[in-house]
């Protein structure tokens, strides 16, 4: 059976995506407020949220807004933040096999953390309607853009955002994601090596390079370390396939 793309699935996904509205709006407001502070207009912030559609990448890009190498810095920020989507996409490919590229590639534009998780759940339940994935992605975008507009528009009313802890939203969000990804002791190595390398690069190089440097160093360290997988069944049957 190959993957399908149905109107009913799209509707179901879109409604599921709208259910995530409060969280997406709140995240959007955080971005909108901070975007307004570096002088981005409502239309500018909204168009960035539609076309880039990557909250963490957009937040990090704002840090580089005044820098002389802003073009390089924002692209590095996007690639570093979104590099997890490369992995998400790799995991999606077998599930979407059989779907026309004309539907598959536009659908991938809508991939965020939430609908990737949906897709993996659908896969585990034996369903292959990619429209559900696309629908959740579009539903999430509604809240994200609405929040962006509200945050940029009314952000000035909030005053000093550091007092409200807005600068801490992104680190806290990533710590939560890390908790979600955490599977066991094998995860200590990439996390700690990435953190330490990033601290050194941040101190001596600056910019957003510490994310890329730490990410590569930590993941490669984990890939080339002797695997602690002898721990019986920790990684399931995959070990046997090697």
């Amino acid at each position: 059976m190959s993957a399908t793309f149905t109107a009913a699935g799209f509707r179901r996904g879109f409604l599921e995506g709208l259910a995530l509205l409060p969280g997406m709006v709140a995240f959007g407001v955080v971005f909108g407020v901070l975007a307004g502070q570096v002088g981005i207009s409502i239309l500018g912030a909204a168009s960035m949220s539609v076309f880039v559609y990557a909250g963490t990448a957009q937040l990090l890009a704002l840090h580089a807004w005044g820098a002389p190498d802003v073009l390089v810095a924002v692209v590095v920020a996007v690639v570093a933040m979104n590099s997890r989507y490369v992995l998400f996409g790799a995991a999606m490919q077998p599930w979407m096999r059989g779907l026309s590229p004309w539907i598959a590639y536009p659908s991938m534009f809508l991939m965020v953390d939430a609908n990737w998780a949906t897709a993996m759940q659908e896969r585990d339940q034996g369903r292959r309607d990619v429209a559900v994935f696309a629908g959740v992605g579009l539903g999430c975008m509604v809240g994200w853009v609405a929040g962006t507009v509200a945050g940029t528009g009314f952000g000035q009313l909030l005053g000093d955002t550091k007092r409200l802890g807005l600068d801490f939203f992104l680190p806290a969000f990533f710590l939560s994601l890390a908790c979600g990804f955490w599977k066991g002791r094998g995860d200590v190595l990439p996390f700690v090596v990435g953190g330490l390398v990033a601290i050194v690069v941040d101190r001596f190089v600056g910019g957003s390079w510490h994310v890329l440097a730490g990410g590569l160093a930590g993941s490669l360290a984990a890939a080339f370390a002797p695997r602690p997988a002898a721990k019986a069944g920790a990684d399931g049957p995959k070990q046997g396939e090697a």
Partner: protein, 106 residues
């Protein structure tokens, strides 16, 4: 060449570059999986990448941070483990940072 994001043309160029980069990250893995042979080492690398990236984001912040940030990190992890919601946990961390800055100053 330098780009000024406060001009319309500079802004459009910068957002376009971000949009292209973001879309490429979304299709790269999907596209490449047709050609890549996923050896156990490649799989181990792919699996470790998300946590390595999160460690590298959090490391410098922890290094620059003080008691307010450490308390907030602890609150974030606790709320995540309790409710399993990343956005809720992030807001909890934000609230703790704001509260401790209000009490102890920044």
């Amino acid at each position: 060449m330098s780009f000024d994001p406060s001009t319309t043309s500079g802004f459009v160029i910068i957002v376009s570059a971000m949009a292209v980069a973001a879309y490429l990250t979304r299709i790269a893995g999907f596209f490449l999986m047709r050609f890549v042979v996923v050896t156990p080492r490649v799989e181990a690398w792919l699996k470790a990448l998300p946590l390595a990236i999160m460690g590298s984001i959090l490391g410098p912040i922890a290094a620059h941070g003080g008691p307010a940030e450490y308390a907030a990190f602890a609150a974030t992890a606790a709320v995540y483990l309790w409710r399993r919601s990343d956005i809720l946990a992030a807001f909890a961390g934000m609230a703790v940072v704001a509260a401790s800055r209000a009490v102890f100053g920044t």
